[in-house]
């Protein structure tokens, strides 16, 4: 167990080191930071002085070490575009992204399970067939097109929902939430639906096929023979047993949701981290890009580490396989 955990931790640390190295080289080799900070008409003496005070004359490994040290404490310098600390910018944008991702995940989970159960129980119903067909089309639709189509229908034609920004937000400490005002909730609808659709169709199809499988098993037949009501069989026995794979898939889908939040945020001009990153790419705002790169990699490495460890805890077969030589 310990060896497994240590190996996974080592691997995660290695990935983070590589990412930190890319971010570091972005900082140091794209453009000349000295020229960027001092402008064109600085004297050579000023340049040397700044170079020394920034530590840019030190050997490579000292600079890299200092960069990693700063990154660990969340320090990435000033944004070139907004001239404010990157850590402040990220702190401002983080709640927007997390709220959007959270709502999308809940929506995908609840919607996916409900529709999956429905299509499994009414296997031959017209509406079920319709849902399955729609989900097939939904799988091949790119996220940004879904967003644009929703804007066209609900914001432009029907004019019932806003199509950009977060509406009114309430500040709770450094956290800003849109969940407490009516306009904030209205602004959240279209982006979170857009972001959730892909995952929702995936979960719906998964729940449907798992349900169909479980409904054929002996213990379900036995439960029916005992005279349990349909509801008790469907929800007490069948649904419960389909939820284990749903949980694992949902864990992995969290990563996808965070990745596609970038696209959704751009479509709806949602002031989150993904939109910040896209803007920073267009303005070549290196410190913001570097910070985002490190942060998003950290999120993914952590998610995967946790999922791996959970598998290990949940599935005893993995523990046995570890004793034989790995693939």
């Amino acid at each position: 167990m310990l060896a497994f955990v240590l190996r996974r931790l080592f691997q995660a640390a290695l990935v983070m080191l590589v990412v930190a190295f890319i971010a570091f080289s972005l900082f140091n080799y794209v453009g000349d930071p000295i020229n960027m900070m001092l402008g064109q008409d600085a004297t050579p003496e000023q340049k040397v002085e700044l170079r020394e005070s920034l530590g840019l004359d030190k050997p490579f490994y000292v600079q890299f070490g200092a960069f990693v040290g700063n990154a660990v404490s969340g320090e990435f310098g000033l944004s070139l575009r907004q001239a404010r600390p990157v850590s402040t910018l990220i702190k401002e944008r983080l709640p927007a992204t997390l709220e959007l991702a959270f709502c999308a995940a809940i929506l995908a989970l609840v919607g996916g399970v409900v529709l999956g159960v429905y299509t499994a129980l009414r296997r031959n119903g017209v509406f079920s067939q319709f849902l399955l067909m729609v989900s097939l089309i939904g799988v091949s639709l790119p996220t940004f097109l879904i967003g644009i189509l929703l804007i066209l229908v609900f914001a432009v034609t029907l004019q019932i929902l806003p199509s950009y920004s977060r509406g009114d937000v309430t500040q709770i400490g450094w956290w800003s939430t849109g969940l407490l005002t009516w306009s904030g909730i209205k602004a959240l609808v279209l982006p979170s639906v857009t972001l959730s659709l892909g995952t929702m169709t995936l979960i719906m199809r998964l729940v449907r096929s798992e349900m169909l499988e479980v409904l054929r098993t002996d213990y379900i037949k036995f439960a029916r023979a005992r005279g349990l009501t349909n509801n008790a069989v469907h929800f007490g026995h069948a649904l419960k047993n389909t939820l284990v794979p749903v949980m694992t898939i949902m864990g992995l889908q969290l990563g996808t949701i965070i990745a596609f939040a970038i696209v959704t945020e751009t479509v709806f001009q949602w002031p989150g981290m993904g939109f910040l990153f896209i803007q920073s790419v267009q303005f070549a705002d290196i410190p913001v890009m570097a910070a985002y790169l490190v942060l998003i990699s950290f999120v993914f490495v952590s998610i995967n580490l946790i999922v791996d460890l959970l598998y290990y805890v949940v599935d005893p077969r993995l523990r046995i396989e570890q004793t034989s030589p790995a693939h």
Binding site: Q11, S140, L145
Partner: protein, 300 residues
């Protein structure tokens, strides 16, 4: 030719009307894209041919439409149908080149990992595992967004095509590497490989001339399905503004530019390229699905 029309593949193709429609549509797109300079009604990027007087015309079935511009025009007076044809050209070019790059890289590394084995194998497959933990679109976005910073500012637009092909291509190699590694491991233990080794053929020659032709079958199927993914990835990156620039727009760039005109009522600028993208992706996907089933002996 008669061998082809007698084959199982042609037979299963004839039995699936959805695939036939999809194949015809995909073919139309490819023809329209390849022949765009010859058959497009206008050249939207020739400044002498476009006129601001024609700007923001609705599609021709609208009363104020103009039959010269069947799907309407954009804010600069460019014909939407022509921009779609030229745009699909770029979308398809990027997708094909990116998939080709993934294939070369994935097949090469997979062959190496499977045939050489040992430390080489574990390093290659570990990198593959790590890359798989990040969603493909995120990897492509990070590579493309960060890669363009290393390109000089004034060259960014002209090199955008290469940056985007590189970023999508680099994202897709893992699937090929895994498949090829698996089949290489199987082929490696077969007699013809042992025979070749006994008579002293070099490792490189065995890999390229003997093993490679026998592991390429599944690669074809994955490639067809991945073309659709690459088209979507390109469109998404261009939509986000880290793909093709407005001077050389792909379908994604067109959709992104058109989005700004949704609220002033010019829906056709963004909707028609969007429909084109969907039809293209779905038809390529359907052909790919059919090919996968048709080439799978277990399903016959």
């Amino acid at each position: 030719m008669s061998r082809f029309f007698d084959s199982d593949i042609w037979w299963s193709f004839k039995r699936s009307p959805a695939t036939m429609i999809a194949a015809v549509l995909a073919l139309l797109f490819i023809l329209g894209a390849v022949l765009a300079p010859l058959i497009a009604p206008h050249n939207p990027y020739d400044l002498a041919q476009i006129s601001l007087l024609d700007s923001n015309l609705p599609p021709m079935w609208n009363t104020s439409g103009n039959a010269d511009f069947p799907l309407g025009t954009d804010q600069q007076g460019r014909d939407i149908l022509s921009t779609i044809m030229y745009g699909s050209r770029i979308s398809l070019l990027v997708a094909l080149c990116a998939v080709a790059m993934s294939i070369v890289m994935g097949v090469g590394l997979g062959l190496l990992a499977g045939y050489v084995g040992g430390r080489v194998d574990s390093i290659i497959m570990r990198i593959a595992d790590i890359q798989l933990t990040f969603p493909a679109i995120l990897v492509a976005l990070l590579i493309s967004g960060i890669g363009r910073q290393f390109v000089p500012r004034d060259l960014q637009d002209s090199l955008a095509l290469y940056v985007i092909i590189f970023s999508i291509g680099l994202t897709g190699w893992v699937q090929y590497a895994r498949t090829v590694r698996g089949s290489t491991l199987v082929e490696k233990s077969k007699e013809y490989v042992q025979a070749a080794r006994v008579i002293g053929v070099s490792k490189m020659a065995i890999m390229v001339r003997h093993v490679l032709p026998n592991v390429l079958g599944p690669v074809l199927v994955i490639a067809t399905l991945n073309i659709a993914n690459a088209i979507i990835a390109e469109a998404t990156l261009s939509f986000l503004g880290v793909g093709m620039p407005p001077t050389q727009p792909s379908l994604g760039t067109l959709i992104s530019e058109g989005q700004n005109y949704l609220f002033s009522g010019e829906w056709w600028i963004t909707v028609f390229p969007g429909i084109a993208l969907i039809v293209m992706v779905v038809s390529v996907n359907l052909v790919g699905d059919w090919l996968r089933d048709a080439l799978n002996p277990k399903l016959q």
